[in-house]
Amino acid sequence: MTGSRAVPGLRWPRLLAGRGRYVGDLAVRGMREVAFLRSPFAHATIRTIDCAAARGLPGIDAVLTHADLAHVVRPFRGTNALFETLVAPEQTALASSHVRHVGEPMALVVGDSRAACEDAVEAIEWDVDPLPVVSDPERAVSADAPCLHVAAPDNVCLAMEASSAGVDETFATAETIIDATFRFARHTGVPMEPRSLIASFDPSDGALSVLHSHQCPAAMQQAFAALLDLPAHRIDITCPDVGGAFGIKQQLYADELAVVATSILLGRPLRFLADRLESMASDIQARHHVVYARLGAASDGSLVALDVDDLLAIGPYSQYPRTSVGEGRALLTCTAAPYRVPEARARSRAVFTNLGMAGHYRGVGHPIATAVTEGLMEEAARRLGVDRLAFRRRHLRSVDDGPQRTALGPTFEPLRYAACLDALAAAIPTSDLEVWRDRVRASGALAGFGYAVFIEMTARGPAFYGDGGAEISTRDGCFVRLEPSGAVRVNASVTEQGQGVETAVAQVVADTVGIALSDVAIVTGETANTTHGGGTWASRSLASGGHAAFQAARTLRAEILSLAAALLQCGPETLDIIGGSIVDRDDSNERMTLKQLAAVCHFRPHQLPAGRQPALEAVASFGPTDAPFRAGCGVQLSAVEVDPDTGVVRLVRHAVAHDCGAIANPLFVDGQLKGGIAQGLGAALWEELVYDDQGQLLSGSLADYKVPTALEIPDIQIVHLPAGAAEEDPDTPPRFVGVGEAGTAGAPAAVMNAINDALAPRGAKLFQMPATPERVLQALGAARG
């Protein structure tokens, strides 16, 4: 019933005409602007913040510090009840006694323009006593490291471990051990629209409404209710057009909370539009790991054991309400998931640093797990002198194995890794790549190609947040109703940031009911008008929201057919709905239009059989509960040239073979893959939040933090595995698997493997991202001795 069609995004006509409605384009009468005084120190005790001079400046309504807000907003801590040992220090909307990272908000200014507010920020007089700084993860766990919180004398937020029983014994008898230390730079998501919101509190009726550039309005409703002592049903969060998010707009931010609290205090609408400089310092950061890993092989070349030890640099607090340990958790779950390795251990320690707040960015932990596993796999194949793909095929799990339980504990549904590998190798034969590589090498340059097999855990179930005590829904709902015009209106709890889920949900409804997409109108991202739902995170929206849409639309369709059958005096099973018409199922002859039926039901219901009350609306909600997540998988290929004189890496080609189940809209699925891969390529080669040893951010602008452009990102070849036959059944909800994070999961690993393939003839290796020219030259230099 739900076909796969490349339908353009429903918002695109507006966006292409310059008629977007992002928060910064919106205004509420009486609205004031906001700017923050942010800490220029990475770690300090606050002595004084004197706002008197700032308050007297023209155009300034208020200047507030922690003391002014403390009675309106509660402090918060990013705990999770599943982890008893997790240290979650208290955080406040505005810093109270200490600042612990550069960019931490210290005071908030309200005025009639952002420029006036910024002038007032300059006029605030403050004084702090600097404290010693922890600016990198290895330093954080060194014996004499400064300590950020008394509750965590060793700076460890959480240590986690998963292991099978015989790891050490197996390594002791392994014939070959391949090991490496992998280093990953700190990133952030850089949505092109910075974070923004307009908070309007009306003291007369106690209602708070927030226009929010956000992924999870329902979660914000819960968070604001809990922290601001407001009834949740008096809070409406509306997400208008959102200019990208990538996990960065999934969180509660201290500065945003301060804006909402100030709106309550002042009883007037406030708009906060983060600028890029404050975004770089205060947006969620991620991916900052040092991982020591080793792989053991037996004398016959089979893999026998894997051991991964991860150090993850979070910021100074555990992020509320999701915590900052998600990357480590993902690492423990999906490291080596594609391979049969009898013994495995993975450890992750999340450590506090005086760097920016850390949490979830597109791919959460997957890129780290994949880069480590796949880096070791290619290094092992090199050491053992075997073909990389043959070596992988020998160890890849097969769908024939049934459920795939890994040595780390988790069990995955059967995934088609090998089929993806075969599809990729068929589309781009290794022999072609070897011919290309030999030709480039013959000219004196360095060239190589590499692969990365990846898993993507999508559409999480309720086990983590639900059982952990966080009010974060893993469900989504859909409300559909037939209008007198014969059109269908849809209110869905999924949220749209450009990925296309809104359009896909509308497609599911249109196809399931049997009407044209142009006869569907959809509203998303409004807590007042949709069921309480999860919104966008962990590649989940269509898996849950598409399923709910299908069920709601099926119910409406059944009611329409039943009503039509009553009017036409036939059996509902003899009718069908095609293109907005009710037709005979046998010959598709039109019996009446949907509009005619709707008009009877809305305006002349007495024409229906006596007592019949038409139910022209239906609602359904859905969230996976049977498994911790739905997994997709795939393989990526990267080919690079490396200039041995400059160290510059050029991406020559990139490809992905992918299995994500049913595809509602190939335009969006391919868009997710290509966009995600581009971010992964950025991770591999350019993107790095550089902090100095005093915790000062040195790459705090887009001139310093290199986001790749059209000059660097190559065209990307995509091979989709066809969905299984069961998904064609019209009575079964389409089984969508997420696709949003596949690109970032695999791309960095593929690029690093390609670079190492290129460097191998020189005996050089590089396991540090991004692979900047400097690092490439150092690797080449080290190999020369």
Partner: protein, 160 residues
Amino acid sequence: MTHVSIDLTVNGRAVRETVQARMTLVDFVRERLDLTGTHVGCAHGVCGACLVLIDGVAARSCVMLAASADGRAVETIEGLSERGATRNLAEAFTRHGGLQCGFCTPGILVAAHALLAETTRPTRDGIREALAGHICRCTGYEPIVDAVADAAAGRQDAGP
């Protein structure tokens, strides 16, 4: 605070306003003229979201003062769109998925329009060069390059 009065045309309409000397052109068109299609992605001249045409030449309105547009003709995405100048580009972006969140899109459309005004036979590399001053975080660029190439081909078919 120093103020200046400026006299210019914006999207073909005469505009006379008094602005703070420090006001940027992008703030002027967005906040004073309600032309919010021109976006601010960085405010430091890197991302291209704020691209407008000034006397027909593409310029970053976040690193220009409104005062410096005095006496000039400014055209924004709204103007280009309303007079149909970006229609076939918009159609091509729609066919190829050349946008997702749409935040970078107005700037990129302005750049593509400026490119196609120079040549209707750009190479793929030429398109990539022309877009090098823009950041799109969503699409990975390939669909944008496809769309611009397709729009260029459409303009060739339509004749000079």
